[in-house]
Point group: C2
Chain length 696, copies 2
Amino acid sequence: MDLSIIVPISGLIALVFAVYLVYKIRRQSSGNEKMQEISNAIREGAMAFLKSENKILVVFVICVSALLYAASFISGSNMHWGTAVSFIVGAILSILSGNIGMRIATLANAKTAEGSKESINKGLSVAFSSGAVMGITVVGLGVLGVWGMYTLFTGILACTQADATNILFGFAFGASSVALFARVGGGIYTKSADVGADLVGKVEENIPEDDPRNPAVIADLVGDNVGDVAGMGADLYESYVEAIIAPMALAAMAGGVALATATNYGPNAIALPLVISALGIFASIIGMFFVRTGKKSNVYSAMRNGLFSSTIIVAVLGGVATWYLLKDNPSGANPLEPYYAMLAGLIAGIVIGLNTEYFASEKQKPVRQIAEASKTGPATVIIQGLVTGMMSTIVPVISVVTAMIIAYHFAGFYGVAISAVGMLSILAYSLATDCYGPVADNAAGIAEMSGMGKDVRERAETLDAVGNTTAAMGKGFAIGSAAITALALIATFIVSLNLYYTPEEILDILSIGNPYLVSGIFIGAMLPFVFIALTMGAVGRAAYSMVEEVRYQFKEFKLLTDPKAKPDYKRCVSISTKRALREMIVPGLMAVIAPIVVGILLGPAGLGGLLMGSISSGFLLAIFLANAGGAWDNAKKYIEAGNLGGKGSPAHKATIIGDTVGDPCKDTSGPSLNILIKLMSIVSLVFLPLIIALTA
Amino acid sequence: MDLSIIVPISGLIALVFAVYLVYKIRRQSSGNEKMQEISNAIREGAMAFLKSENKILVVFVICVSALLYAASFISGSNMHWGTAVSFIVGAILSILSGNIGMRIATLANAKTAEGSKESINKGLSVAFSSGAVMGITVVGLGVLGVWGMYTLFTGILACTQADATNILFGFAFGASSVALFARVGGGIYTKSADVGADLVGKVEENIPEDDPRNPAVIADLVGDNVGDVAGMGADLYESYVEAIIAPMALAAMAGGVALATATNYGPNAIALPLVISALGIFASIIGMFFVRTGKKSNVYSAMRNGLFSSTIIVAVLGGVATWYLLKDNPSGANPLEPYYAMLAGLIAGIVIGLNTEYFASEKQKPVRQIAEASKTGPATVIIQGLVTGMMSTIVPVISVVTAMIIAYHFAGFYGVAISAVGMLSILAYSLATDCYGPVADNAAGIAEMSGMGKDVRERAETLDAVGNTTAAMGKGFAIGSAAITALALIATFIVSLNLYYTPEEILDILSIGNPYLVSGIFIGAMLPFVFIALTMGAVGRAAYSMVEEVRYQFKEFKLLTDPKAKPDYKRCVSISTKRALREMIVPGLMAVIAPIVVGILLGPAGLGGLLMGSISSGFLLAIFLANAGGAWDNAKKYIEAGNLGGKGSPAHKATIIGDTVGDPCKDTSGPSLNILIKLMSIVSLVFLPLIIALTA
């Protein structure tokens, strides 16, 4: 039996299941007119942003695909014209998955608030279902896209396997570049709106969070969706397809190119990553049922149970499938070798997630220490947060390194790439718990704005608090998977050099004794710093425009004194949209152009160094920013819960400053780094033939 | 004529010139009794700290030299027992140079204040002379130490040249480990005292800086000396000797081991780094005369003229000497090849210094932007500072990379090492302008405490302000030289592998396709983050003890209400001393132990990766921390000068918070990273034979 038939089946089941969930969500009440009005405003804002963003993306996609098509002539046989086609398909599917996620999230927010009126479990059910739609759509479009393109080019267009996987790099590049713009643009949007709303509303005018009189409140709620839903979805869609494509390419090359170090697991090794991902989809759907049928109000442990169930299921099924597919491999190697690699990746992903949770949890020492530091003012809060973020890098680094060494030990570069597939196999589940957060956050906002009363608001806030914890885990997971995916891509890059150079030449190119490689490492390590500076600076500038607008409206429209006055939400939404789109262009283009320029100036050695430098520094900075930001946020929440003086105390004010610093760290710059390191790797892979043609 | 005779001559001239300067400084008046009393208290505190620190260092030196002696038996012929001896000598000379610098700085502070009574130029003359003593002593002891050990082992003990340079690694290791403890201990000391004094004095009790009623004021002034004078001196002493030793070792190995890539410039290539350093001493002394005879009150341009003069002189003399020494080299290569490498390093050092100055200058955009951000509060000040620090990494990275590629292009690894010598050749001068800062700072403190009146205070503050700018340049220079020195050491590490492996094996070990090397890069990139967290956390804890003591004294001794009350300065001094020494041990040992552990676990590949990862991430983080810290500091000063509301305004308070965050960044964690990356490289070089013996 050809096991790979389950790949399209799993993709279709995923999409059918998503449709079923949407149908169920649609049947829920959206509450009263006021709530629907707010929800509509959020949806309109989010969709307007997506629409404007997509206009820019269309231009970008046309230019790059033209460039790819032209490059395929310059580069000769090593770059197929199909790369340009698959680039377009990858970009479209990535745009689509962000779009679907956003539609469902903005549909479910009012329904979650309305559900919370009934019970916390009802609210949870709606919010989690909407997250599940996002998760399941991303993976469904992922496997269908990769499988479809591969089948199209090997089957109908009769390309070789190696050519077809090369063409798939174009697909990944399409997904990757859309992801970068979505993450950066969404990140700038959400934080400029958030900081603008808070600085004027909470700090200057002393009105509560989500107060309807604040003109930036809708922009803030839109931001949760465009940043955390669409950005996160595009980010992980990219990791997912890249993790699948890297081992496919390595397996295809192991069959063609003579590689001393690579075990040839045979043609089924090309199908294995897709099959594992298909099994992961089934495991995730089963895991989701664990959450949805949880009766007790302990939302968080229901989610955790689901996570562990999915993990165990995919671990068991993955072993069986790997054995079945590789049992007759031509090398006669132990067919379970890649399975151990997959397990290493799966476990590393969970450990990294738990580490992030530890550092962001109000119940643990790091957050408590930041809260304690507020006794001596905001400066010590900042310092303690920096310390926490930096310390939090230890476990993720050790996890990734251990997984990599184990994976390599058992199955070489192919193993490293399969470990990324293992880590991302239950992505549908992780993404569901992750995207549930912003929906709950929106629901709490709608409850406040429509005056639904203290009870509902509190229930929605409980959901929101759990959402923050799962979002922190999700962030750690996103970073870890980005690192291991980028490593898989670098492994593929290294193996691809065999098409152009002898093994001796390659060793010379890749040596840290080669000054061009070392230069590449330095420049690569620098780029994440520059990227952070650009994106953080962008948030600052965009927030400043927002602050001015909000101040202006408070004053001119007499929002706080005249009870009949109404703020003009749309102007704030439009400011966020315009600024975010304008500011995303420079860092976005930098990520695409830097590897090409370095490759042309410093050759393949410089390019290899660039990838190594950017992944090591980008990975660490991403963890640092995410965990420092999360810890600052939760230190503030810990004090708001009544500790150390509670709301309004000097300690609270000190932690608000910490949280404001942390916001762009954890929601703009940090997550964008994930994509930066992956994108630069895939750009290097795609343009390697061109660079070699130009420099040789 | 044997040109290398100028090496011991230059060292002796340096020491004689230092004695002459001390004699001149001694003749200046130390002012009235009150001033002498304060100056004595500072000296006592500083010396007490050094004494306690040295006790710990003696234990460390004895343990490590015993370990080295034992290791020389395990490692066979590749590790000489002389390594243990030269380790001890290196450690002693490093302790000595810190000690001398501190003595002269604490001698000159009151005299500078007294001189400022007469004129700003008189004050400058005294302060700069004391900085010059420090600079000239460091380089004098540097060349004499390296030359002496090399002569001892090749001449009297008849070692081969390669063995002798190997033994010199022990010397560098001794200097390096003392430097780390001095930097970390001094850095923790100075910032715990500073933050403690400011948080209670300036912020809580609203008394001015350096107010004699503040019990921590003496500890604060002591801190300037132990951190900025002794720490900086030991840091650059290390860079200096390591930069000299690396090319000596490479030249010695090029004669012995057959290296395909290395040009054999003959035995004179071993002497060249010492000769260039000797010429640099002469050039620096001449440059110092430019400053001391400057008549106009533009202190800063006098210093800059001196810098450019020294640079031009050493650039000319270096060319002549290189040509003379290498004109008959056995390879028949162009004798000026290493000279171009030297020039590349020299210029890169100046560019990096100017970059730091730009980012720390009140007259430039970055600092102004931070100051502007204070309009929207402390959070935006912090964010803008982070942005500034990250952006400031671009020029240093490009400079180092360019210098490295040029140096390698002309003269291979030897060229890279010589470029570090070039950069550090005018160290005596740079250090003079750098150590002048803390003396001026102390003078301003003494002027305030002894009530010398507004005029004197203002003049001392002008000197202090210039000191801050030159100190910023000095910091940039220290970081740049640390990076290029570490690169030279890594080059030496790579070449040393030829003693154990075939060229093919080496390429395999050093490949970024080797997962152990990649693991090493990740771990290496992580260590600076952990190191920052440890040192910054240490400052926080030490500052907290200080805050408690100061609060206690203010309350119990009624310092602000009872005019007869006197604070107990000594208790604060003792707290800083104890905490700094306790907290320096863990990060210090980590730096020594990490390479050995990684080497044993992951082999030479892991070790090579560790060095590459730590240098790339450590270099970038060091620049980031130094420049963010400097910019925050000067944004505060810009507002204190009357801009944006001036002292006491909300904008001022926001920038005080930025400055407090920046303090441990720029004065503790950042500078310590310089030593971390160098120390790990030298530890790897010294223990490579042992690691290979244990893992083979």
